[in-house]
């Protein structure tokens, strides 16, 4: 990830970011001035009127109406000002240009998948063209999630049974974090995707490639899906034990279930475990951790199994 951010804000890579940053720094510097006034006044008064003798008995001071009115009026003007600017900026953030390129985003526990108009579907990677407004139409398969791209200064909750949307226009090619920012359970912290901003030409090329699933050999497609669907977050392919069992040497091995039964890990076993992982759980692992992946297509399941067989 590039780093041209400031001390407070990350790099800014969308059309709305500079405006948000400007407002952030306006409130920031105003706050610094107010804090210095309060703290300065406090320190001065504490020193100036420190108690010199136990018998000190100061006369009560008459209140100043002018002072009181001024510290009501000045802050009121200031907050109404930042309210207005914030409100204008918010309208820009919420209303997408009508010519925006549309991508369907689906959040699930714990990953993202993005569907493109030409049928391409990728997980945990969002590819977008630079200098072109992009609108994500979003929904969730299970609980609340929230799509947050700090470099673009955009965030929107993703809900089950309802569409929400977010739009941005990237201004810099590069890779950026996409976080889930609404708490969603065990792997909330790992529900991170990468935003790839390409030039229009590179994007077109990538998009054509991504839609070519039909031509990709099964194991290769499986490898891609294994990453995109977030499988690698729990299942390693190098023999280390994660939240779920490793895939290394899994195919053809004997697996002891929680109920004691021993099953051979053949194609049907793997298929069951992908589509309905909660039904049978291998001894030593927790039930209910892995979500069912029934939404994968037949070819995608075949591809995953082909990939696992090779490990």
């Amino acid at each position: 990830m590039g780093n041209n951010g400031t001390v407070w804000l990350p790099e800014s890579a969308s059309t709305v970011a500079p405006e948000v940053d400007w407002l952030f720094y306006f409130v920031y510097w105003t706050s610094i001035v107010i804090t210095l006034l309060v703290v300065g006044g406090m320190i001065y008064l504490v020193w100036k009127y420190r108690r010199k003798s136990d018998e000190d008995r100061p006369e009560p001071v008459k209140e100043s109406k002018l002072l009181e009115i001024s510290w009501v009026v000045v802050p009121t003007i200031l907050v109404l000002l930042v309210f207005t600017w914030g409100f204008q900026g918010y309208l820009k953030l919420t209303v997408a240009p009508s010519n925006a390129y549309e991508i369907q985003a689906t959040a699930f526990s714990w990953g993202w998948s993005f569907d493109y108009p030409n049928g391409a579907s990728v997980g945990n990677e969002l590819h977008v063209p630079v200098d072109r407004p992009v609108r994500l139409n979003m929904s969730s398969e299970d609980v609340l999630h929230s799509l947050f791209i700090p470099a673009f200064r955009v965030k929107q909750d993703v809900l089950p049974d309802r569409y929400t949307s977010v739009w941005f226009e990237a201004t810099q090619e590069g890779e950026y974090h996409l976080f889930c920012s609404e708490y969603c359970g065990t792997q909330h912290a790992e529900m991170i995707a990468t935003v790839h901003v390409h030039s229009q030409a590179d994007f077109d090329e990538w998009l054509a490639d991504a839609a070519m699933d039909e031509d990709v050999p099964l194991p290769e497609l499986g490898e891609r899906l294994f990453g995109q669907q977030g499988c690698q977050q729990c299942h390693s392919v190098d023999g280390t034990d994660g939240i779920g069992p490793t895939m290394q040497g899994l195919f053809g091995s004997e697996r002891t279930m929680q109920d004691g039964e021993v099953l051979e890990a053949d194609e049907n076993y793997l298929r069951q475990m992908i589509i309905n992982p909660g039904e049978r759980v291998v001894e030593g692992y927790q039930a209910g951790v892995m979500p069912p992946y029934g939404r994968l297509s037949e070819r995608e399941i075949n591809a995953l199994i082909a990939y696992i067989k090779e490990q």
Partner: protein, 574 residues
């Protein structure tokens, strides 16, 4: 009448040699404590209970900080981490900060401030503690029967699908809520009906005004969280679709219900702190409060406006843009009265006589920390900026600046201030100042880096994080140990003073409110030996001849003096 009963059941008071009769020594059995109807003893019961809760929830926070020292798994796995921050939040919010100041200091000080013998309904007061304990027991049960990892916000549908232990937790919050309602109701009636002769509304100490405003919110808002929890409970148990989309419910409805309580609850937590700060600033400046009416009425204004801003927690939730805009505007209106208070407190010191004892150090810390808490609140209220900052560490830090930097610091200041009155003992002033310094430095060094983390995009409730956030997380974790050291130091010298502390005089700080001028330290079981008659305002130090002696004779002073102080006594109290 109740206390005479206690005297019979308890140890005979005459066994105390020369110790004057007071609320702590007139009966000493455990039963006399558990069945007490004395507001002072109930305050102490709450103090002990809440100290335990704060300790546990604080240790959970330390576990969270340690886990975040490096990315990846440090001391616990994701699920354990999620349960840890959930328990930290639930215990701190529902079991500690909401009851804290009203239940401990409100109970102890309010009737003393009013010149009353007790609160209006002493039995209801005791009941509130038992109800609270029942809620606490259910929280423990929830921990034993399963896992709660929903965060303290219980957002649906995640909470509708989790472990059954969530049901125990929602029931615990439902029940603990009644303890708030009882306390609030009791205080409202007490303030209306039990003021001493001459104690007009304009002569009420500002602590009383703040407790009054808080009580209104407690009584009006708490039922909503109760109802919400019951709805969540019924949805889960009877499968009625209310919040869960799988059953045809609406998850955003839950957020509306939840914040309709939880935003006003923020004012339940912070308003009493305002009250304490007003007391500390005046007593330790020996000056009238600047803008009494502005402070008193702004508390009530905040309490009422506080009901109209809940939607600012939901700018990116999917609620309509119009709602967000309206909520943002009202949020700013509520920022103004809070700002006025800060300016008023600073102005109170003008031409005062400022005495930097430990409670005053906490009051000054509060002014600084609450200013940051308030201004970061303005930042997250800006619609377009909030879109970026929402659900990040910026928000985490903002509310810790308000809740801990505000409420907990004020509570610590108040505990030090009233400690001589509550226990009859003085704490060690030097250690007190050191601890106040450690807490101030530790707090800022823990939470200021989190503001930067959040603005840089670090989402909250993450068990692990991307590498670029490591440095700031480490600063925060290391500093949290300084903060913890300060708090443990307070615990240590407070416990020490309870047994070995120097005896406190009646009015060690030279306060001009009734608890200092009219009661002994610790007070009599019945508070006052005669009904106080009020002839001046709470901060009219220039009229408080009963504290300082007649004007200009110089034969009396507030500092550690039993009046009238002899020079030798004054020397000894330094």
């Amino acid at each position: 009448m109740d206390s005479s009963k206690e005297t019979q059941s308890g140890a005979a008071p005459e066994t105390e040699h020369q110790e004057p009769h007071n609320y702590l020594n007139h009966a000493k059995t455990i039963k006399s404590w558990l069945l007490t109807l004395d507001h002072k003893r109930i305050g102490v019961l709450y103090a002990v209970t809440l100290a335990v809760v704060f300790l546990i929830a604080g240790l959970l926070a330390m576990a969270v900080r340690v886990e975040l020292f490096v990315p990846g798994e440090t001391i616990m796995d994701n699920d354990t981490y999620n349960q840890t921050f959930t328990m930290h939040g639930i215990m701190m919010v529902f079991l500690f900060i909401v009851p804290s100041i009203p239940a401990i200091l409100g109970n102890f000080v309010l009737p003393l401030h009013l010149g009353a013998k007790d609160v209006a309904f002493p039995r209801l007061n005791l009941a509130s503690w038992y109800v609270y304990m029942t809620g606490g027991a259910l929280v423990v049960t929830a921990l034993l029967v399963g896992q709660v990892d929903t965060g303290w916000t219980f957002y649906t549908p995640y909470s509708s699908s989790g472990d059954m232990a969530i049901l125990y937790m929602t029931m615990a919050i439902f029940i603990a809520g009644f303890s708030s309602i009882f306390t609030g109701l009791n205080f409202i009636v007490t303030i209306h009906k039990m003021r001493a002769p001459g104690l007009t509304w304009n002569r009420l100490p500002l602590f009383v005004w703040s407790i009054y405003a808080t009580s209104i919110v407690m009584v009006l808002a708490t039922p909503v969280i109760g109802i919400t929890m019951i709805l969540l409970f019924m949805e889960r148990l009877l499968q009625i679709g209310i919040f869960d989309p799988a059953l045809g419910g609406d998850p955003i409805l839950f957020q509306h219900f939840f914040w309709f309580y939880s935003h006003p609850a923020v004012y339940i937590m912070i308003l009493p702190a305002f009250g304490i700060i007003s007391e500390l600033m005046t007593t330790f400046s020996r000056q009238r409060i600047f803008g009494y009416k502005a402070i008193a009425l702004s508390s009530v204004a905040i309490a009422l406006l506080g009901f109209l801003v809940w939607g600012h927690h939901m700018f990116v939730s999917g609620q309509s843009a119009i709602s967000s805009i309206v909520f943002s505007l009202i949020t700013y209106l509520i920022g103004i009265p809070s700002g006025i208070k800060i300016f008023n407190w600073v102005a109170t010191m003008y031409k005062g006589s400022i005495w930097l004892q430990t409670p005053m150090l906490y009051a000054l810390s509060f002014l600084f920390l609450f200013t940051i808490g308030g201004l970061t609140g303005i930042m997250v209220g800006v619609l377009s900026v909030d879109v970026h900052l929402h659900d990040t560490y910026f928000v985490v830090s903002h509310f810790h600046y308000v809740m801990m930097g505000g409420t907990v610091i004020a509570l610590l200041g108040g505990m030090h201030y009233w400690w001589p009155k509550i226990t009859g003992k003085m704490y060690n002033e030097t250690l007190g100042k050191i601890a106040a310094g450690l807490i101030f430095i530790g707090f800022n060094a823990t939470f200021f880096p989190q503001l930067i983390l959040g603005a840089q995009g670090m989402p909250r409730r993450y068990a692990t994080y991307v590498e670029e956030f490591t440095f700031l997380h480490q600063v925060s974790t290391v500093s949290s140990f300084i903060l913890a050291a300060g708090l443990f130091l307070v615990l240590g010298y407070m416990m020490h003073s309870m047994f070995f502390g120097r005896k406190a005089s009646k009015n060690p700080w030279g306060g001009a409110t009734l608890e200092w001028t009219m009661t002994t330290s610790p007070p009599d079981p019945h508070n006052f030996t005669r009904t106080p008659i009020i002839t001046r305002g709470p901060y009219d130090f220039h009229l408080a001849d009963e504290v300082f002696g007649p004007r200009h004779t110089g034969d009396g002073a507030g500092d550690g003096a039993t009046e009238p102080a002899t020079p030798a006594e004054r020397e000894a109290s330094r």
